[in-house]
């Protein structure tokens, strides 16, 4: 191509192209298969002869809505993931700001401790959290789920924002402090524009994590506040032929976040690398 100097560890272009496409299609195959199956009848779904040739039908999608109130679960997913992400940013950003620009002797320890809490398996806290949620009547409510999502994403958010803030030269902030800017002006006019990318990628990742979170939504919710991840789990032991319906439900559960992920992948990666990868 245009660049004369290339990393020639990879073989010739044609071979590379074919190999890369094969690998990509292989990895994507399960999702493609699911998408195809969701437009089939149940009989077509399990038959090899109708693998590619069939008349698409939308009946599975309407069935999913009528069998289990899809829209309610989707609404729960949207509300819990969006609100917990915003709430998390609101708590994490000030903490990350404080540690990045006013480091103390304990800053490293605090960061490591936060990561440590994230490594505690959620199941270790299941019974206490369940009991607490029950006694404060937060069981099977969106508020309860939002609180849990926010707290379990908080360590990662602080870490990601911390590494983003670290890349902003502190002298810029100091300079505007010397100009007599107060904390609000400093954040509003200097810090915010400089860290929009970091805030976005942190928010995006937490949105994806909350949307896909299954442990807490399976254990803390039922019919009222269940998210899509919990709805899909209810399809795990169905009776009779169900591949097409399962596929339709799955596609409806993942489509919003997968399409969202496609568009934000570059932004997302930047956040995920904790600033360690350029």
């Amino acid at each position: 191509m245009s660049a004369p100097i290339t990393l020639r560890i990879a073989p010739a272009l044609a071979v590379r192209t074919v190999a890369a496409w094969l690998v990509a299609l292989l990895i994507f195959f399960p999702i493609a298969f699911m998408l195809l199956t969701s437009f089939k009848t149940e009989l077509q779904a399990i038959s090899v002869s109708t693998m590619w040739h069939f008349t698409p039908t939308l009946e599975n999608y309407t069935l999913v809505q009528s069998r289990s109130d899809y829209l309610l679960y989707a609404k729960n997913s949207v509300i819990t993931s969006v609100v917990s992400t915003l709430l998390g940013l609101l708590i994490a950003a000030p903490a990350a700001y404080s540690m990045a620009f006013f480091p103390s002797r304990r800053t490293k320890d605090i960061l490591m401790w936060m990561l440590g809490t994230k490594m505690m398996p959620a199941v270790g806290a299941l019974v206490p959290v369940y009991v607490l949620a029950q006694s404060s009547s937060l069981l099977d409510t969106r508020l309860g789920l939002i609180i849990v999502f926010t707290l379990s994403n908080l360590p990662l958010m602080v870490w990601m924002l911390y590494s983003h803030f670290k890349e902003i030269p502190p002298d810029i902030l100091e300079a505007c402090r010397m100009d007599g800017a107060n904390l609000w002006d400093e954040c509003r006019h200097v810090l915010l524009p400089l860290s929009l990318g970091g805030l976005a990628s942190t928010g995006l990742l937490c949105l994806v994590l909350s949307w896909n979170e299954a442990f807490w939504s399976l254990n803390l919710t039922a019919a009222h506040a269940g998210t899509l991840a919990a709805l899909i789990a209810s399809y795990s032991s169905p009776e009779g032929l169900f591949w097409a319906k399962l596929s339709a439900a799955s596609v409806m559960a993942i489509a919003p976040i997968v399409v969202f992920g496609w568009f934000s992948q570059k932004q997302l990666v930047q956040g995920l690398t904790f600033g360690a990868v350029k």
Partner: protein, 337 residues
Amino acid sequence: MRTSTDAAMVSAPGAPLGTTTAPVGSAPPQQGARVLRLVKPKAPKQPEQHAMHRPLARLLLAPAVGTLFLWMIVPLLMTIYFSFIRYNLMQPGEHGFAGLMNYEFFVTDPSFMTAVMNTLLLLGSVIAITVVVGIGVALLVNEPFPGRGIVRVLLISPFFVMPTVNALLWKHMMMNPIYGVLAQVSKFFGAQPIDWLTDYPLFSVIVMVAWQWLPFAVLIFITALQSMNREQLEAARMDGANAFQQFRFLVLPHLSRPIAVVVMIEMIFLLSVFAEIFTTTGGGPGDASTNIAFLIFKQALLNFDVGVASAGALFAVLLANVAAIFLIRMVGKNLER
């Protein structure tokens, strides 16, 4: 003597209100001071500038630290308390002191060692697969080729699939021993279809989890490879380095930090794999695919034994701490800037 008085005479009238720290001999206007600070990044910190902000900064840290501390300590204390009493949901009202009985029960349960081994096997295999295959795939798609953008999108997709969908998709449509895609492929080649989830349950779970996390590793490695120094590679090639040597001595060292990141993040999420096991094998057959997280879940919600489950949870916390220490040793240094 003469110079200092001169300087004082110059600076005193012109100094704006509040700039008591104006250095001798130079009393630039505000605008100039800012430029000066920007040009000299290593200028010593001036305590009075921080005096106003530092307590405020501590205050900003408080909500995050406070809520996380509560989120950690309250369940932990409750778990410790539960672990020392008899607490079975099927026998209400009986909360006597149990001593170390719950611990003994959990540890001597034959499932315990199996679960520990399964947890480590799952963690180790998925990290190994995603790092090795991830580097391979990233190298494959690093250079431009037709359709690279689409390939990238296809490769990353599994990362956004929620674990419950991932599990059901593989359980039914891929691994079903009669109709599943893998069974059809086996039949096509004239081989006996394999009942993956019954015969190789842990391996099946590893496949699902690795499929989910491979895109993550690939993405990180692609991003890292983009920043490789091409002149260096070209020079190595001029000197006669073959592909393997280039990889071993240039690419791999460049990827050490990205690998550390992948290992760290995956470790956090893989220590507590739950949904994939819950929705497919249910930990079985027997305990063949039970990890620590699922074993505790079984004790608490299937055997209703909160006491034993709490003792187990403390073991999980212990395991997490051992892993965390190991991680900080291995990875933390690599992430220091």
